[in-house]
Symmetry: C2
Subunit: 244 residues, 2 copies
């Protein structure tokens, strides 16, 4: 979120602290299993008052990077976008149970980035990308298909890994196999008619109305890691937001 390149004196201390803490989280110095150092320890270590540490923490909590539990400690919150996409689509079982969609890689190619992908991923046009075509299924029926593009050099292991070993969730894979952590994403929703390729994968007829969700996922340093276009039938789409 924050650039955090400059040492940033002249910024308030609590903001400097916040950046410092954010960096620790990004670099994995603060893991998500055990608590981060206590407010007292941090205050002492940085030679500031506890209240200042607290204020820095509060910012990170508000941004969703940290989570506080009274009596226990403060923990790194690891975001889980794995199932986030399915907010958009009604796929509750008949009795309202939570359905765990499975994933299958239909195709994997390595291609040079075109103009659009290059800009989305902030790389030079022509940079080699790993492009995945993936289906998300419930009860064996495809609900969603996705075009995924990641930079080949950052995700080299995924160019070789057998596609049937990718598992259902990509972001944990990115983390474990490539050391790339997704902390943030933007999504844009629009509507379109199904192309023959997508229609076939979704077992629909071409021209059917689709919801298209275009996501760009960012790493802790703010650089885009992945571009993903998800296609699903428009009549299953439903999304609620809250305005103030």
């Amino acid at each position: 979120m924050r650039a955090a390149v400059s040492p940033d004196t002249r910024l308030p201390i609590y903001l400097q602290l916040k950046d410092a803490f954010a960096a620790k989280i990004q670099q994995g110095v603060w893991s998500h299993r055990d608590p981060v150092p206590s407010e007292n320890k941090l205050a002492e270590a940085h030679k500031v008052a506890v209240g200042t540490v607290r204020k820095a923490m509060e910012g990170l909590v508000a941004e969703g990077l940290l989570e506080r539990r009274q009596g226990k400690g403060t923990f790194v919150r690891r975001p889980d976008f794995g199932s986030a996409l399915f907010r958009f689509f009604r796929l509750a079982g008949a009795d309202g149970e939570v359905l765990r969609p499975t994933a299958r890689i239909l195709k994997r190619r390595i291609v040079p980035a075109d103009q659009v992908s290059a800009r989305a991923l902030a790389v030079a046009p022509g940079t080699p990308l790993i492009c995945l075509f993936r289906a998300r299924c419930v009860d064996g029926r495809p609900i969603l298909v996705e075009d995924i593009a990641i930079e080949a050099s950052r995700f080299a292991p995924l160019a070789e890994l057998p596609t049937d070993q990718f598992g259902d969730l990509l972001y944990p894979l990115y983390d474990e196999v490539c050391g790339e952590l997704v902390v943030r994403a933007t999504e844009t929703i629009r509507f379109d008619a199904a192309s023959p390729r997508v229609a076939k994968a979704l077992e629909l007829t071409a021209g059917t109305a689709l919801a298209v969700i275009e996501r760009v996922a960012y790493g802790p340093d703010g650089r885009p890691l992945e571009r993903r276009r998800s296609y699903g039938p428009a009549d299953r789409f439903s999304y609620t937001i809250e305005l103030r």
Copy 2:
């Protein structure tokens, strides 16, 4: 958001304060043009420390009810949903200028609430509702049409007011003419094919893909005030969200 019916002792002071302040905003005691009382004044008035007032304020700022400006004061932020709908639709002028859509009431009826409307508005089925059919236009061309339902008893003046005097924005009208203030809303997006009635009003052919945005707007006491269904052409629809 908060129920705030109970006097709520045993809650932390700063939360009680927050509720108290929220009530002041809702009731219009704190207007949106001049600043609310300063932290010092409020602390003195409520016999608490300034820091406690501050913390209460911070909550309201986070919720978007207040806005602080250093050196000047703290102000009530009046939400403006008037143009919010148009976040969803690309209607930038060729040169990126901001377009001010106009509104025209096409039809007004008073009908008893059906099951769905009744539940959305939290009234008994059969309660008289004012139903408006409205078009939003840019350059004289309809971009959006809306079905609007409000409780006739709460909005009685609008049953009589000539429809050409409604103006372009409804919420200010609700406030000024009926004393009903919208502070919050939820919107649900889905996709559908155009019915003949809507298609005609939008000057499209029936069956065209539409984006349907269903909004329920709430007053300060948390009661639903308005139910609104907006229809626009799907190919102009585009919406971006941020995930964390």
